[in-house]
């Protein structure tokens, strides 16, 4: 699975995700990537999120929109909302994976509860970061 989240010059947040899904999948199995609210979500009043991981859990826990809702209604920061959902909600339930997220201030969060996630970002100051492992 691959994904991107951006803040553009007009102040809009956009999220996108694309995937081949799960190895050896059968019976038309669909994961979270094409499900708006689960693997992809964007709302200018909170954040944009793209997810990757065990899709069934990301659907059941509507991970992408949950992160944005915590910002919108619980007034959590992007970092706290994303880390809470990935580490305190999803992992105890057995869901593994991670997200990339960005907010209207151009802040970036990339939490994951597995040993690695291919990720890269360029923040509002132009700082580049690229990582694979924890």
């Amino acid at each position: 699975t691959v994904g991107a989240v951006v803040l553009d010059k007009q102040g809009n947040l956009v999220a996108g995700t694309s995937t081949g899904g799960m190895t050896a999948k059968r019976f038309g199995r669909i994961g979270d990537s094409p499900i708006i609210g689960a693997g992809t979500y964007a709302d200018n009043t909170s954040c944009a999120v793209s997810a990757t991981g065990h899709g069934e859990y990301f659907i059941r826990y509507h991970v992408a929109s949950d992160i944005c809702a915590r910002m919108k209604y619980a007034k959590m920061s992007l970092h706290d909302a994303a880390n809470t959902v990935i580490h305190d909600v999803l992992l105890p339930a057995g869901g593994t994976g991670g997200v990339i997220a960005i907010d209207a201030g151009g802040n970036v969060a990339m939490p994951f509860n597995t040993s690695g996630m291919y990720r890269a970002s360029i923040d509002k100051h132009g700082n580049v970061s690229i990582g694979i492992y924890k």
Partner: protein, 176 residues
């Protein structure tokens, strides 16, 4: 306003032992290209959707990632691809699922968002819409890679050894 971008290429049980320095360098280089190209689109003042599509298409065309070329195989030895895109301004969104012959699923998702009254189209219907939109259509074998084919054989061997579907929990393949 200032601009910013983040991308991912998948999560999982990754270990430094799993790849050679050369492979790691290839991943880093492709991530760098994708994030930089998307950022350039933003700096040029183009809409966020263009930057998201640019960055994701670079990874869809790379055999390194589970999307487009390099996608994992289904049980039946094919590739079924999914994609979605969402804009935070008016909460508009588009998605395709279970498509096999659309070269760029993220572009198809974008067209669903901008050229149809729907949010999600699936399988043959999504393919018919993509053809109507004159998107590039390809043979499913374009997405083949040896590495993923071998992963399919391993997964199928494990499935046969498991005693029940419930117990059959996938290994690293369960990650998108």
């Amino acid at each position: 306003s200032s601009v910013a971008i983040a991308i991912h290429g998948g999560a999982g049980t990754l270990s430094p032992d799993d790849m050679t320095d050369a492979q790691r360098a290839e991943y880093i280089s492709t991530l760098q290209t994708a994030v930089t190209e998307g950022y350039k689109v933003l700096l040029a003042g183009e809409p966020g959707e263009a930057a998201v599509i640019r960055a994701i298409q670079i990874m869809e065309m790379s055999p390194l990632f589970n999307a487009g070329i390099g996608a994992v195989y289904t049980f039946d030895g094919e590739h079924e691809l999914d994609a979605s895109i969402m804009n935070g301004r008016e909460l508009n969104a588009g998605a395709v699922s279970g498509v096999k012959t659309i070269k760029s699923p993220i572009m198809a998702a974008y067209r669903v968002m901008t050229e149809s009254p729907h949010v999600m189209l699936s399988a043959e219907g999504a393919e018919a819409f993509a053809r109507q939109q004159a998107l590039e259509m390809v043979d499913n074998t374009l997405f083949n890679t040896q590495r993923r084919y071998e992963a399919l054989q391993k997964a199928k061997a494990r499935m046969q050894s498991e005693t029940s579907a419930v117990e059959w929990r996938q290994g690293n393949e369960r990650f998108g």
